[in-house]
Amino acid sequence: MTPFGSGLRALSLATVAMLALALSLTFFYAPLDADQGFVQKIFYLHVPLAIVALLGFIAGGVFAVLHLRSGDSRWDAYSYVSIHMSVIFGVAVLVTGSIWAKASWGHWWVWDEPTLVSFLIVFLMYATYYPFRYAIEDRERQARYASVFAVTAGAFVPLNFMAVRLAESLVHPRVFATTGGGLPGEMMLTFLVSLAAMGLLWVTLVKFELTAKSASGQLKRLRRALDAPAPGGTSRVAPEVS
């Protein structure tokens, strides 16, 4: 029995439905932004992605604390997959942010924009999780050190946002602030639906990856029990999930 796979089908269907709803709301329901026009639609993709990625990094840190406290390698798997998925979402955040910056400010990259720069630094920090983790050979030590990394990086995220914000001027398109104390109702609804859809997507992908890891771990154990060597030697796909 694989507990990771339970409810995966229902979750996947819900994610697809939610994503479809979010995209239709974005294109057919939400009004055009008076200032930026059609380009502003990327807001419904970019901002939810960024929020979900940051929450995923925080979740990775929380799972890491649970792993360190309990020593249960299952939490390490959760922490690893959370960070892994958030790094992938982070690439999407940087790409969509860059496209939005080009369309609304005329440059692919803008340095005096604190949110963008902070996110880049956080992304670079978490990108070093992989070389760090795989450079440590002993499995148990690897899991423990990776958790320490996740906790340290979790403490780093708010500090970094604060330092960058203090250093830069504020020119970000304040979608929430400029429209008089928040988004108009239709925009807010679309945004919240998009956020929920991205959150569901993240959870679904995390569950898929955990299921795949657990399946390949079981396969490896079966092979070992049958005394047959795995094709292509040992895999470096850590962590193994029981």
Partner: protein, 226 residues
């Protein structure tokens, strides 16, 4: 004295004595920093620096020189069995973290005592900025000692020690560098130091130090298990 303070003092004294006798880290760090200044002199094609350029050159050089020392911080413990001895001894393991961070702090302070005057002689018009700069250096060193010790103690157990320390440490110290360069830029401005937002940046540095000393204190036990 509690057993922890005894252990702390013993490890710190051992580290400083070993460095004094072998001179493994400090001369290399100082030489590296001075040579980097010379390279910046030609790379930027300037004979004097001020403002953001001066603070950028100073902090980038100090950071990279510090990484040389951080790389070597735990090598002797691993090669000579120091980790095993600490694990066997009936002491709080955090004493090792505190002692190593203190040793690194001493290295950085000595490095800066040599290198910052050289920087002032090479590039600055007056030495008026040095006293407030010393406060900044002390606070930044404390943060660097905390994060550096933490990363170094993990990297020393990996296959790619020399690669991992700069790779992981550089993004981690970005907030520290933002605050340090932000505070020293007005200090190094032409026509005497000004203290624009000095207090804000000092507070950021202090907060960074506090957070990472606490994180190091909280997680270091897990690094010495098994």
């Amino acid at each position: 004295m509690t057993p922890s303070t005894v252990a702390f003092r013993a490890i710190l004294a051992k580290d400083l004595r070993a460095e004094l006798r072998t001179l493994q880290s400090l001369p290399a760090m100082a030489l590296f920093a001075v040579t980097t200044f010379v390279i910046f002199r030609f790379g930027l094609d300037r004979t004097s620096l001020s403002g953001s350029l001066a603070s950028g050159v100073l902090w980038a050089t100090l950071l990279f020189a510090a990484i040389l020392g951080i790389n070597r911080l735990f090598v002797s413990e691993r090669e000579e069995g120091g980790f095993d001895a600490i694990r066997l001894a009936p002491i709080d393991r955090t004493a090792l973290f505190a002692a190593k961070a203190a040793a690194l702090l001493v290295y950085l302070l000595v490095l800066e005592a040599i290198v910052v005057p050289v920087f002032a002689i090479f590039f600055l018009d007056s030495a008026a900025a040095l006293p407030p700069l010393a406060v900044l250096l002390l606070l930044a060193d404390l943060g660097l000692a905390a994060t550096g010790t933490l990363i170094s103690s993990m990297a020393v157990h990996s296959r790619a020690r020399d690669l991992l320390v700069p790779l992981v440490l550089l993004p981690l110290v970005v907030p520290l560098m933002i605050a340090a360069t932000g505070a020293s830029e007005p200090l190094l401005e032409m026509g005497g130091p000004s203290y624009e937002r000095f207090g804000t940046w000092l507070a950021v540095l202090g907060l960074y130090d506090l957070v990472f000393l606490l994180v190091g204190y909280a997680v270091f036990d897990f690094l010495l298990e098994d």
